[in-house]
């Protein structure tokens, strides 16, 4: 992977970015979540072979965190977009 399309800055060198891991939202109601749910959130990962939704940070650019959909075998990025609260 050589370039990543930043939702703000367009195609930029991949070394400007920092990888933030797979998309893994926190338990929606933290006080009600049990040990099993927290274990799942803190440790367990899908480690997807295929298209993965993941976080990236434009470290040397606009300093924004955004989401990307990338195939983990080919590293092809099909889409990048900003996070929006789920309704």
């Amino acid at each position: 992977m050589i370039q990543i399309p930043c939702p703000h800055c367009g195609l930029r060198n991949a070394q400007e970015f920092r990888y933030g891991g797979e998309y893994n939202p926190r338990p929606w109601h933290p006080l009600e979540a049990g040990d099993a749910e927290w274990t799942e959130y803190v440790f367990m990962r899908d480690n997807q072979w295929g298209v993965q939704k993941e976080w990236w940070f434009h470290r040397a650019g606009c300093q924004a965190w955004f989401l990307a959909e990338r195939h983990t075998k080919t590293n092809e990025i099909s889409r990048t977009y900003l996070w929006k609260p789920e309704t």
Binding site: R18, G21, V42, R45, N47, T74
Partner: protein, 412 residues
Amino acid sequence: MSFKLLRQALNGNRPLPRMWREHPLKDRYDVVIIGGGAHGLACAYYLAQEYGITDVAVLEKRYIGSGGSGRNTTIIRSNYLTPEGVNFYDESVKLYEQLSVDLDFNVMFSQRGHLTLAHTDGAVRTMRRRAEVNQIQGVNSRLIWPAEIKQLCPPIDVSDHPRYPILGALYHPPGGIIRHDAVVWGYAHQADTRGVHIHQLTEVTGILVQDGRVTGVETTRGRIKTGMVLNATAGWCTTIADMAGVRLPVTTFPLQACVTEPLKPFLDVIIVSGSLHVYVSQSDRGELVMGAAVDPFASYSMRGSLAFTEGIAGHMLELFPALHHVRILRQWAGLCDMTPDFSPIMGVTPVEGFLVDVGWGTYGFKASPVSGKRMAELIATGRTPDLLHPFRLARFAENDLVGEKGAASVGH
């Protein structure tokens, strides 16, 4: 081995017998091991050798040793940070020392000494702590200073000119390198001789689970009935565990390595630098074998990158300025299954009969004999050996992590 060679020389040019045979896939086995690398084959060998369990199939998607076992930089050591880690890897080094005799095959284990450089005061403190932990457990390991480093490794720059001057090093004399393919072939040969079936080009496509118990395995060559499956894969361990419905705390990262063109004998010891993300040794062919940290993002891609080559070349020159004219010959990558506490996951899972030996990150090859032997013990006796207990899958739910920051030689 030498007598075999002599006999072969006198016999003319007849080819040596095959080291392992091909078999038709049976429709049932007592034990099915997924992954024909050093771990899977070692487990098969110890099952047959120590416990007389020979109805074992080792399933390999490609050819044996084509994954991490053939892609690592072959460094073997036991100077870890946690007592659990030191105990575990020390048994591995002892098994490796006997391996050529045990397998009747020269694995060319060369215990040439292993130096982990410290470039900051913090790193010196960590090295001192590691040395103390190691010495208490009887592992030969001590802190040394630049004058002794220079004596052990004349080409290294110990001056205060570099960006990260060398302040000290953890010296581990029993650390060494080995011929990794020979380890795989040796285990395969001895397992095969004892009746284990090695099935190459056999990919697992599904795992059959009924009422929380494993009942069989689906492969590209047909279905196998079995009550015991060991997931000994790297890179694909999450994919395989998903088939059995087991969740793993693993993220897969590529790790790149490269070799230079062959040089005259230049480097006797193994040099590792955590701050510079580099480890290097000289192979018997004279090539400098170099590896780096894992790539900066998770991926199953094994393509090389220019960022890696530039990075490692710069760091190597900081340690060995004399190498400025040396060219890189080839470059490759392997897949590392990283866990949250930089320790492997070995033992039972919530699915009965489905065992894991995964999450080997950047430290799997050096543990092949001990993990194979102890996983074989677990399969044969049904009891988790004390040595494996700290590395169980349940430690994540129990919040009892190992925290092995001395795991990879590179910084985290």
